[in-house]
């Protein structure tokens, strides 16, 4: 009898849940769940049409997925893969950002030139802000005071005061900005420009451009070098930048803004997510339909995992 609690504990511990990387497959209308330890796909869940941006709530109890062609943000139970409900999102939501309050989603509506703010609790639209044409990249500062939308056609980063939900600044970036992110505790804003082939670095306090990253890969035509998603390492010293159809990641020194390395990954590398200790990086490779695992310290691609067609966004989910 005295073994019962132990037995129960063992039973409860089965199966051991590992850390996961969630990847949206744009063409398959699914998400693929990758086990970080075995580096294999463990689950594939159905989603709405053309899933792109993907974010977990702070407690990882739900996952938000931009289903662009379903014109909604879907809320999924990550344990079951069941769609709990949809959120109003405005038309064609592509990318979004979760406010540090864990409650408000800032959604870029590509077709309407609007940024929609949605309250995930009341499931209502709180605000709609007019921005430039074809907004895509979205970011909210760590202190929650500033939201950024980048617009593909206007080639601008629009700075939104989250108190008033109004624009307070617009800064020019290079052609077709794709992704924006606050880095280094919110002191810098980085914006990647796909066609321009650059990343613009802004000082958040002054909204002034302080640096511009440029990329050049031997043997690859400059037109193909199209920076999209990027992530900074745990200590903020280096950034990994996805270069789209150049099939490479750039490793950038985040202090000198110089490129130190290029890593070959799959075709049309788009976005990426780290594992828990940021020792591994998972990139989505759209055209080749797979995810490449990069050893961050070694700066080497170690494995490529087949997922659905046109993987787009990636998000990390830790063990419960």
């Amino acid at each position: 009898m005295k073994y019962t609690p132990l037995l129960a504990a063992l039973l409860l511990a089965q199966p051991v849940k590992a850390d996961e990387i969630w990847v949206t497959n744009e063409k398959d209308n699914t998400v693929s769940v990758i086990d970080v330890d075995t580096q294999e796909v463990t689950h594939t869940y159905e989603t709405g049409e053309r899933p792109r941006g993907i974010i977990f709530s702070h407690d990882y109890s739900v996952v938000y997925i931009c289903a662009s062609d379903s014109d909604s943000v879907q809320v999924m139970d990550p344990d079951t893969g069941e769609i709990l409900h949809d959120l109003p999102s405005g038309e064609d939501p592509e990318q979004f950002a979760l406010h540090p309050d864990d409650r408000h989603l800032y959604i870029a509506n590509e077709d309407d030139a609007i940024t929609t703010v949605v309250d995930t609790q009341t499931r209502t639209v709180v605000a709609q802000i007019n921005v430039g044409i074809e907004p895509e990249g979205m970011a909210v500062s760590p202190d929650g005071a500033i939201a950024i939308t980048t617009s593909e056609t206007t080639n601008m980063a629009h700075w939104i005061d989250t108190e008033t939900q109004e624009l307070f600044a617009n800064t020019l970036v290079d052609s077709r900005p794709r992704h924006a992110e606050f880095v280094k505790d919110g002191s810098e804003l980085w914006v990647s420009s796909e066609i321009g082939g650059t990343i613009s670095v802004f000082d958040v306090a002054t909204q002034a451009e302080k640096a511009k990253l440029e990329f050049k890969i031997k043997g690859v035509h400059p037109d193909k070098v199209q920076p999209v998603g990027f992530e900074l390492t745990a200590d903020d010293t280096h950034a990994f930048v996805a270069l789209g159809p150049a099939n490479h990641l750039a490793v950038v020194n985040a202090e000198t803004y110089e490129v130190e390395d290029y890593i070959l990954v799959g075709r049309r590398v788009w976005h990426m997510a780290f594992n828990a200790d940021k020792s591994l990086l998972f990139t989505t490779n759209g055209v080749s339909g797979d995810v490449t695992v990069v050893d961050v310290a070694d700066r080497k691609a170690v494995k490529t995992i087949k997922v659905g067609r046109f993987p787009w966004g990636a998000a990390f989910r830790p063990t419960e």
Binding site: V220, N247, L264, S288, D290, V293
Partner: protein, 263 residues
């Protein structure tokens, strides 16, 4: 048995000394694969990566792809060079000196084969190190696990050279060997292109490549360099090696008379 070891050592050492003395050969052996690696691979413009095929776990550059093939090329050239020097030895008297040693003939030939293979492996490692300096890297552990693969592939290709040398009557015929053995073997293999690419252009070529023992030697090296094993390639390499060895021993059988020449 105790008297064999000095003989084995001496034959291997002689091969090594001879190789070192032929500085042009050493240089050519290193430069040849490097040209392929640096010029041909660059011209191939595959900076965007090749599709994933085993043993690779992720996308690789073309440079990475051809390194095992170039190791195979080193061993192939080395095997043919051995063959050439055997024919040369025969025209001179060195071969007679070797074969009149009071040792079994298979043992003398096997020692010779080991010496040649040893030199080939040295060249492969020199090449791998230089390739690494040029940024074409393979797993560190792979440099250890590739050793048995290089030995097997080297012995197989060396045995081929040995077998060929026993059937070549004169040194002048050697150019023919280059044209009819080295080039088809190298180009009709997985050394330069993955076989699926070959299959896209011609099913016949694909099957020739599949049957080519050199393909299997290259694949054995490729897998071993990535710390894995291709049992099929291993089997083929060993079988081909055994067949070439039997052929070589038959060619050098004194009852057949390898030095037998019409006068």
């Amino acid at each position: 048995m105790t008297r064999r070891f000095p003989a084995f050592k001496a034959i291997v050492l002689r091969e090594v000394l001879r190789f070192i003395h032929q500085r042009e050969r050493f240089l050519a052996a290193l430069v040849r694969p490097l040209i392929w690696l640096l010029v041909f691979a660059a011209g191939f413009r595959a900076a965007l990566g090749l599709s994933i095929i085993p043993p690779y776990q992720t996308y690789i550059t073309y440079e990475t792809y051809i390194v095992p093939g170039l190791c195979g090329m080193i061993l192939l050239f080395n095997g043919m060079q051995t063959s050439l020097s055997l024919v040369y030895d025969r025209e001179m008297g060195s071969m007679r000196l070797l074969l009149t040693a009071p040792q079994p003939r298979w043992f003398l030939l096997f020692s010779k084969l080991c010496g040649a293979t040893f030199i080939g492996i040295l060249q492969c490692y020199a090449f791998l190190i230089i390739a690494r300096l040029f940024g074409v890297e393979h797993p560190l552990l792979g440099h250890l696990t590739v050793l048995p693969a290089l030995i097997l592939a080297g012995l197989m290709l060396g045995a081929l050279g040995l077998a060929i040398s026993s059937f070549i009557k004169q040194l002048e015929n050697f150019a023919g060997v280059m044209n009819f053995v080295i080039f088809p073997m190298f180009f009709l293999s997985s050394a330069l292109y993955p076989l699926w690419k070959m299959q896209e252009s011609s099913e016949t070529l694909y099957w020739i490549c599949r049957l080519n023992p050199f393909t299997h030697a290259v694949e054995l090296i490729r897998f071993a360099l990535h710390v894995s094993l291709s049992p099929w390639a291993l089997l083929w390499t060993v079988l081909a090696g055994a067949a070439f060895t039997v052929l070589a021993l038959w060619g050098y059988d004194p009852a057949r008379g390898m030095i037998r020449k019409r006068r």
